[in-house]
Symmetry: C2
Subunit: 440 residues, 2 copies
């Protein structure tokens, strides 16, 4: 992508409304724009990152056997009356009347709708287990949306819903998602710690939040520091292996971890002092097993192998992509801007032409741009006539992992400079060697 043809509106000033660093950097780098309170547009740079985050989430959901569909944003109130949550949900639910005066709502979550889909089609245990997910917009009318897309009103959520014949089956489904989440966060460059959590308005009796540690976290968390070194399930993990899933789950729940709501001071103090970790955390995922809480009132039943009807056991599993993006920034930035993990970077590299219009600089930049593009890389080419200093600052701000700097002095020797955004390390190489290194 040539920057002269891209839309990347970088702000020179620090936006006053931003209280946390991710919000400030997302506004400054032109990733998002607030349209109304707690409602954001994702500008092209932000959209690219969001797409990469979604892709990783999707790949790991699919790997674990979950099946993607797409439910709508607007739901009928009737469905929520069936589960009893229509009145219970409170003011965070955006209630709407259509032109026929029918009561509707903008879905804050989809337990009811997916249970309705399930009961319409699935009649036999032979179709179980089943895990259906979608990545769809939600709306929660928070009284005080803040921190940019970290806590917005309209937001994207990946929500999966598992259906099993038995409690044991449902617990295996829960552990599959648990393992899928560990893989997902790890691929996003995050170390997330699962913590026993309160089930809140979703309900149920088993729940974990996945928390990343960050100074700007909303909640206080307490855990054993061993978590930092636990192994992430490998790519070839067999999600159908019940014992395997159990052992991953057991390992990751073997030492103390809790949010402040679930905190047990005595248990925490039993950990040797040097191993205690007390910090602020950001919730990036939340999983629930809630048995028959929705299937019972909504009549989601299947015929079992015994010929009788069984109410299915369910769980739900959420990740917020629009919240993950700022969470990644909170975990990975410096005073000059964002430092994207390679897996979600909006571009793999940025070519900085220090002197656009200079014949040698243009020729080398174009050659690099074409060759890296042909090698299948996403490359941003800063071909604008901005000053070199402005370009360097912008490249640091947007946090693309590799900067390829083409300047008139080095190019006279046939050389360019590579800068690693994360370490700041620089090396001077011939154009050829730089290409080999970047595509090798």
């Amino acid at each position: 992508m040539r920057l002269s043809r891209f839309f990347m509106p970088i702000l020179k000033e620090n936006p006053k409304e931003a209280e946390i660093v991710s919000h400030r950097l997302m506004l400054r780098s032109g990733m998002v724009r607030q349209q109304s309170q707690g409602i954001y547009s994702w500008l092209p740079m932000g959209k690219r990152v969001l797409d990469k985050v979604n892709k990783i989430i999707r790949e790991e959901q699919n790997r674990s056997g979950a099946i993607e569909l797409l439910m709508p944003t607007l739901q009928s109130a009737e469905l929520w009356q069936e589960s009893g949550r229509y009145d219970a949900y409170g003011k965070e639910m955006l209630r709407i009347k259509d032109r026929q005066e029918r009561p509707m709502l903008y879905g804050p979550t989809n337990e009811e709708m997916v249970t309705d889909i399930f009961r319409s089609y699935v009649k036999s245990y032979k179709n179980l287990p089943l895990n259906l997910y979608h990545i769809q917009l939600k709306f929660r009318d928070e009284i005080r949306p803040r921190f940019g897309t970290m806590r917005s009103r309209e937001f994207l959520m990946k929500d999966a819903y598992s259906f099993d014949l038995t409690k044991e089956g449902a617990e295996h489904s829960y552990r599959k998602m648990f393992a899928a989440y560990l893989r997902t966060f790890s691929r996003l460059g995050l170390r997330a710690i699962p913590m026993r959590a309160d089930t809140g308005p979703i309900g149920g009796n088993l729940s974990h939040e996945f928390i990343i540690l960050a100074d700007t976290g909303e909640s206080e968390v307490f855990c054993h520091k061993d978590f930092v070194d636990f192994d992430i399930p490998a790519e070839d993990t067999d999600f159908d292996n019940v014992a395997g899933m159990q052992s991953i789950f057991d390992k990751w729940t073997s030492v103390y971890a809790a949010t402040s709501e679930m905190h047990d001071e005595a248990a925490f103090n039993a950990i040797p002092e040097g191993d205690r970790l007390s910090a602020r955390g950001i919730e990036v995922g939340h999983i629930f097993y809630f048995g028959t809480k929705y299937s019972e009132p909504m009549g989601a039943k299947v015929q079992g192998p015994d010929g009788k009807e069984h109410v299915v056991h369910m769980g739900s599993y959420g990740i917020g992509p629009t919240r993950l993006v700022p969470a990644i920034i909170e975990a990975s930035h410096d005073e000059n801007g964002i430092i994207w993990p390679a897996s979600v970077a909006p571009f793999d590299s940025v070519i900085i032409n220090m002197k656009a219009g200079d014949e040698a600089c243009d020729a080398a930049s174009e050659r690099l741009y074409a060759a890296l593009g042909n090698a299948g890389q996403d490359v941003l080419y800063d071909d604008t006539d901005d000053r070199a200093g402005t370009k360097f600052a912008a490249a640091d701000l947007i946090g693309v992992p590799v900067q390829v700097i083409v300047g008139p002095r080095s190019i006279a020797n046939g050389e360019v400079e590579l800068k690693d955004r994360k370490t700041g390390a620089r090396e001077t190489l011939t154009v050829e060697a730089a290409l080999n290194k970047l595509t090798g």
Copy 2:
């Protein structure tokens, strides 16, 4: 994907509510489910097709130089008061009050919001031309939603918005989208005919609808039959070539084509009778040039090369993916079900194991499934214990281009049967030869 682990709820009965064939087939094949009047879930099979349609739309938008972002679904009423459309839009606009009693709406289109984004950031002609698009849900509260996702209330739209310094520039941007649309529909397996159209509530003075001919079309259309043979712009088309874009546009507007609203009986009758085509059509895209209709009241201006402020010239360009899916079915089906064009098929092929549990059938099916998957194909493997007849009917219904039939009799000779869903042609080949043919 193993069918035993997929979610593809095929209906045995013809759904009564479906008035047109695409709606009937989408319900029967388990692609969609109505959740409320005019509001649909896209079940896994439908979601796969929708994703492929979106991918083609996106590739062609990007090729033409448009830049993707993502605007939210909910908008503030204020923005629409600025353009004067808040009162004008009528009951199709879903008006909402949030918990603070602020008037909001579920966006039926995004001219106002994108103009607001533009004016916030773009100050100089140097950043033009610019074309921003997104693929986002819209809501239009139609009094009589019908025909399934062909005319639903919540629907997906790709809407692009171009910004230019001059009218001439804007006309070039219009012709670029015109050419991109020709390519898009062609890749979707459709022959779409651009017709001069009324501008309706979007406004402006130049507009084309892209119409595909189908008996179930909502509108009557009239055109010269030469359209059927006009060339589609090639993949390497240079969208920056002003004369090139002009010549594509001139060619495709050189002969008569009009919807009933714009129909000129005399002009049509001037065509030799044998060349007249009068038919029903389905609108699958609509493009508009509307000059300064939004930029003027909303103050979207840039500094020109003359140092003065210029109100920008705009156009907007819509395609409805959730409407395209049924449109493709209307254009491509038979009495047994859907016939997907390869470009949007939910799977490239389906392996029908006629006798799951039979050792030879299972082994051959598994081998084919693994080999086709390794070759990068999307394969559905019907590994269920349904009767062979049920499997054949389902495979025809879901319309996957190639069926690979593994039966006990042929596999005894090491052979399988390939069936082309479109032509019905069958051939018997060794497993090896079948693999070579499908991956070759």
